[in-house]
């Protein structure tokens, strides 16, 4: 079977709309997990960037990606890339808003202090390096007295 440009595009858009298993409101594209969909003459490969190595959701995401392509009659290979490294700023702005407003999960900005998603306060106190998932740390907002989780980043430590 020959892969045409339009096949590639339809597969790409199906794969892009796969939901993340732990954030059912967000797609893997919005979270910056989807890196690329590439094809040669006869096969399609989906490159994914894991938020964190050893993430237990990877095999679920892989199954879901393959199933999304299969619904269009295509078999795809899935590859988890070690490079580039995933960073929280790969999350789209829209998705960052959903994480903050719906899930009380903050993203550390490149510059400045992390803001509490509940009250907008800027005095989060770290309570532990990892929370319920390995990709988030746990903080306490002394202003509105809510626990807040922050997406971890090696490059931009929470301050």
């Amino acid at each position: 079977m020959t892969i045409t440009q339009s096949d590639l595009e339809t597969v790409r858009s199906a794969v892009a709309s796969v939901k993340d298993p732990e954030y059912p409101d967000l797609t893997i594209e919005q979270l910056g997990i989807l890196e690329n969909v590439v094809a040669d003459a006869s096969s399609i490969r989906v490159d994914l960037v894991p938020t964190i190595l050893g993430c237990p959701a990877l095999s679920t995401i892989e199954q879901d990606v393959k199933a999304a392509a299969r619904r269009l009659g295509h078999e795809v290979a899935v590859q988890f890339c070690r490079s580039p490294v995933w960073t929280p700023d790969r999350i789209t702005k829209d998705a960052q808003h959903i994480l903050a407003n719906e899930y009380t999960i903050a993203i550390t900005p490149r510059l400045g202090r992390t803001q509490c998603p509940v009250c907008g306060g800027r005095s989060l106190e770290k309570r532990s390096d990892v929370g319920p998932t390995a990709c988030r740390s746990v903080h306490w907002c002394a202003e509105c007295r809510n626990p807040v989780e922050v997406v971890r980043s090696r490059e931009a430590p929470v301050q």
Binding site: P21, E22, Y23, P24, G54, P56, A57, S59, T60, E102, Y103, T104, I105, V118, K126, R127, S128, V130, G131, P132, T133, A134, V138, W140, C144, R145, N146, P147, E149, P157, Q159
Partner: protein, 306 residues
Amino acid sequence: MRTWNSMEEFEEFLDAGGVVEPNDAMPESYRNAVFRFIELHANSEYMGGLTERDWIPKAPGMHRKLTALAKTQDEIGHAHLLYMVAADLAIKTREEMMVDLLEGRTHFHNVFHYRVHSWTDQIAVAYLVDAAALASQQAVFKNCSYGPYKRILRRVIAEEGFHMRNGEEMMLLMAHGTETQHDMMQESINRWWLPAVQLFGPDSRPGDELLKWHIKSERNEVLRDRYVQKFVPQLLGGGFTIPDPGLRKDPVDGRWKISEIDWEPLKKTMRNGGPDSARRIADARTAWQNAHWVREALDSSVEVPA
């Protein structure tokens, strides 16, 4: 900070969908009820995390071990968040809650008072018990009047949904597996069906404060019935039987009806007198003592500002 002049005024606020925040001057009886409810949830997440932990070395294969590890982290992480919110209500410190739990003075959900005998028991827990817990958490989340708790539940529910999917996948694997696997799965369903159904508790009392104050938003019997309607067909579809000789489909409304439940054993279980309660609590105590040096090291470490 908001204040209310009377309980009637406060209840009107709750009935209108008002959400209480920690800085509000909430009535003490409401504060106590929210606290007890969150403490029970936190204790249950913690005890659940320890059960899950037992299966990390025993889970078959790398992938299942990774999942068990992640689920342990989820449950302990949920407990961590819940204890933070509970402690903030200033009724007990976190230390006091831990000591009360480990001394057997406070409680945790019935499903963590039984022994998990086999890998298929662990699957039944993930499939039947996690689903029951998720259903009750979803019902709390829908209309919960305590803001910080509602916010945690949003994330807890997303993560538990992932656990449930995992449990379902493993159950289907056994359902379509060898005869031995199918039989093992059936044995585990026989052991865990009733505890899962009982997780919702006896029918809600009229005037239940948790309902009145919108801490919970649905009656226990409604949640239990919805669970039965969903899981009876799923289990039968997997080629399993349900350990309830009185189970029947009502010819009038087409709904599944289960036998009357004798709640006496549950009451004893909830007072930490269940079949595996003593061992579970002792085990949690040992884990707490063994991790003492870790807590000490973390407490004494000084954060260097960036």
